[in-house]
Subunit: 379 residues, 2 copies
């Protein structure tokens, strides 16, 4: 049971307790529809990453707009998604350790579960867990297309791993995981395109070697909010894993499009709502949201509709807004909206989404409260 929520349905925005994780429902729904329409028009399947939102309620909205299911990063996230009614989950990650593998295999009794592997011992461990649970697991070979994190090398090593999967009685070779994580936040559109082109070449090379041993990667999955258009246009990717598009954090908003302007396909739809709890000086408006309300790994949160306002000097439970360069000057007791630097780990700090409609209007109020059901699902 999560902590008490910072609001109730119908609460006026100004009365929402802080710090709170706010969704601008209008912008959020536009983001959902835009990506769904893009995937349809591009002829690729959308499997959004649920590590962004950790909510089966949001996952169900994505599925209702055409998504084939979701990605998860952890077995415990997948359990929350299946419990919430999502029937098709790809764990877009390796799973290590017998406790986790047993849970993964048992989950395949209740939903279609696929998982990634990048090591021969990993294949043997998956086969053992699937045998024990008497299930069939779909397995993708993760290839390292340039992200230099997990993944076997493309080409022959990947094909050998696929053969090993195909020979395992309780496993099915389902395809290739070719996610290029470090390409997502490359600022220039042309550079992102170049990197994905390299990834595509490596996928093609691997497909050729798979064909030579009589295998075929039915699924080629990857892409994020920074590069999804490139993968979709590649002709080799069949699934897009983008997740952050639903919320758009301050860091993604720094990516440039082909026109040299910031990409604006998706709108900021996630905010941390904070109160000015002390205002000793214009350069020092102290808000009640710090390192326990935001992740700061990808930069500081950005004050919303407070031009010139700068958030800095976060400590555990405080942050400072310098409003000297702003024409607006929030007072002690006022509440402010802040766009997180990085959505995914920020969401993971909160127990509740507070959904607000009409954020730009005169009297916005709370329309929904959704638990961040997989918050803290680390295993």
């Amino acid at each position: 049971m999560p902590l008490p929520s910072p609001a109730e349905i119908g609460t006026a925005l100004r009365d929402v307790d802080t710090p709170a994780l706010l969704i601008d429902l209008d912008a959020f729904e536009r983001n959902l529809r835009r990506m769904a329409e893009f995937a349809t028009s591009a002829g690729v399947r959308l499997r959004p990453h649920s590590k962004t939102h950790k909510s089966p309620i949001i996952a169900a909205k994505q599925v209702s707009l055409g998504a084939v299911g979701v990605c998860c990063q952890k077995v415990s996230e997948a359990e929350v998604m299946v419990d919430g009614g999502i029937a098709d989950v790809l764990i877009a990650n390796e799973v290590a350790g017998s406790a986790k593998l047993d849970r993964l295999a048992r989950l395949a009794r209740r939903a279609r579960i696929a998982v990634c592997v990048d090591d021969p011992d990993g294949v043997a461990e998956l086969e053992a867990a699937a045998t024990k649970a008497d299930v069939q697991l779909q397995v993708l070979v993760e290839i390292d297309v340039g992200g230099r994190r997990c993944g076997v090398l493309p080409g022959a090593p990947a094909a050998r791993l696929a053969e090993r999967i195909a020979r395992s009685p309780h496993l099915g070779f389902a395809g290739l995981q070719a996610y290029y994580g470090s390409a997502q936040h490359v600022r220039e559109a042309r550079d992102r395109q170049t990197r994905v082109a390299e990834a595509v070449a490596q996928v093609r090379e691997t497909q050729a070697l798979l064909a030579a041993v009589g295998l075929r990667a039915e699924v080629v999955t990857g892409a994020g909010t920074g590069t999804y258009e490139n993968e979709a246009a590649s002709g080799v990717f069949t699934e897009l894993q983008a997740g952050s598009y639903i919320f758009m954090d301050a860091d993604y908003a720094r990516n440039m499009g082909g026109n040299g302007e910031p990409v604006d396909t998706f709108e900021h739809a996630l905010f941390v709502y904070a109160t000015v709890m002390s205002a000793p000086a214009p350069e020092r408006l102290v808000v009640d949201a710090g390192l326990k309300a935001f992740a700061v790994d990808s930069g500081m949160p950005v004050p919303w509709r407070l031009p010139g306002g700068l958030y800095h000097r976060p400590s555990d439970e405080h942050g400072i807004i310098d409003a000297t360069a702003s024409s607006q000057r929030p007072k002690r007791g006022d509440k402010v909206l802040l766009v997180p630097g990085h959505c995914d780990p920020t969401v993971n700090l909160h127990d509740w989404y507070v959904g607000v409609r009409g954020l730009g209007g005169a009297e916005p109020s709370v329309e929904c409260l959704w638990p961040v059901a997989a918050r803290g699902a680390l295993f």
Copy 2:
């Protein structure tokens, strides 16, 4: 109800699921005793900050060793502490907003509650909430002794605020909050000493002005793990608020003592336990603990007893250990201990403490499981 725990009592360390938040109980207990003994010998009261551990179980251990109570940063933390049996809580922070103030005042029916203020309107709001709840609240004036966060200016402005408190029928002027946050991580011992000396001068100046209006700050509270010896020696501080000493993070371990060596009074007692989930190359051991398992605001986690091992490139659920310079080379499936860069926000990411005895020995096992009861208590 928190998420399932990553272990059970008696689980062998090697079988604890990951990522897990581990306490080395032997080192932790030595840290508890060392600070308790220091406070006793220095003749100051110890009121450890519970924002570090967020656990009434740990708070009770501190009280049993002589602490007078705890500090909290948030009303919701204080509620958890009082629910867990802690009878004396200082909210070492300002509280803004009527919902929080009402909860604060109601809490004073069940425990001795003190709170800070730095604004005349804040005094009026506290008086209104205390009147409504028909309670008496202890109120400290927070003075800005150099940290440049919250706090009224020392001297006359602080004395005027104290008078306003003293005139409020439901409030009692309890003393001064004089915490110098930014001095805690100043590396050189002499520089920390200089800063605290400045704070002490400002406390003395304020005390003189209080005396002139017939008031006295019975409590002068402040200090953290970086400076507690300086405040204790000052003759003006009556209470120490240090919190991190129980766990000691990698950042605090970079502080230097008067001898030019790193301060080693307290031992690392908190770890994130992680599994090598992929090992494509010696420079790239991928562990299953990233931005959702650690806070990285004060630097990366440091591999423990893996000399030359370097943790870097954290992403949401992954981190890379470069072990090329280490004589040990963990393999895929091995588990490693990592010292968090910053304890407080790292603890806030986990639902359970896994307490292990005999960590250096042959067969360490799990002795206790404690919920991080106030995790996510943001309000």
